[in-house]
Every structure is written in structure tokens, then in C-alpha cells.
Subunit: 91 residues, 2 copies
């Protein structure tokens, strides 16, 4: 799977990510993967919900998985952060 | 399904919810449901990840669903908020 149908959700306003997802589908992707970590997880869920409810009624959430990622900080220590992957596809 | 195996995740520190979940399982629940809306969605995912990775290794995420809920504000208008339901159960 190429990475160009993956949308990384961060701290921008949610409509930026909705636009990115709808663009991917309009360019012919069969599925689009949303990925987010930490506080941006809520924004990723918002992105999926707004996309399927308001913009692309033939798109639905196919799968949601979560995991824990270990991040290395500048002092060489590590901290854990939750991550989510939401797979959007046509119904 | 009785509501006493549902943990509503809000704005408290995540360990409060981890404790609530582990208590439910230790009292004999076969599954525990995490529910959250808006910004608390990230905390619900953290709760699930910390519970299964650090406290209850025999517990895993069985299902994750999201939806959009309509909230009525004080002026009678409505706004939409995303909601998540995470089902935790024994492997």
C-alpha cells in the first residue's frame, strides 16, 4: 500500500483534513487511512465523522485500530503515546 | 446490557478511568465499555491502551465504533460532536 492515501492528522483545523480526505477519494482512491497520535486522535475521529456524514455519503468507516507508540525524547528517555488508525472506504 | 459496566470518560486525569475499568473487571465484568465525546476521545483511547498494556494483559479491545451526536445548546440551537465507544473484553 502506497503512503499517498494516508492522511496524517495533527493540530490543524479539522476541515483541512476533511479536504485532504475528499481530495484523495476524488482522485480515485478506494480507501483513505487517517493516522493520528495523542490529542489529535479526537480530530481524526471528527475528520472521519464529518467526511462520511456531510461530504461523502458513500464513504464509511471500515476499521478502527489503536496502539501505543514509544517516543524518544531529546534526553534519550522514552514516553508512550496512543495512536489511532481509521480506514475509510466506499460502502 | 446494564449501564454499570460503562465508564464515561471526561476531562479527569486518565488514571482515574484506568482505575474504574480495572475495578469493573475485578468485580467480575466480562466486558467494560468506554464512552467519550469530543476532546475526551483521546483520553478514552489512552485509557484502553494503558489498561491492556500495563494493567490487564488478558484484556483487549474487542470493538471501536464512532458516531456523531447532536447537542442542544442553551439558545436552542444544535451543534454536532463526535463520540466513541470502545469495548474492552477478555482475550
Amino acid at each position: 500500500m502506497a503512503d499517498d492515501n494516508v492522511v496524517f492528522v495533527g493540530s490543524k483545523e479539522v476541515m483541512n483534513y476533511v479536504l485532504a480526505v475528499t481530495t484523495q477519494f476524488s482522485e480515485g482512491s478506494d480507501e483513505v487511512i487517517l493516522k493520528a497520535r495523542g490529542r489529535a486522535i479526537s480530530t481524526a475521529v471528527d475528520t472521519a465523522e464529518i467526511t462520511r456524514n456531510r461530504f461523502l455519503q458513500d464513504v464509511d468507516i471500515q476499521d478502527i485500530t489503536t496502539k501505543t507508540e514509544e517516543l524518544e525524547d531529546e534526553e534519550g528517555g522514552t514516553s508512550n503515546v496512543s495512536a489511532i488508525t481509521i480506514t475509510l472506504g466506499e460502502r
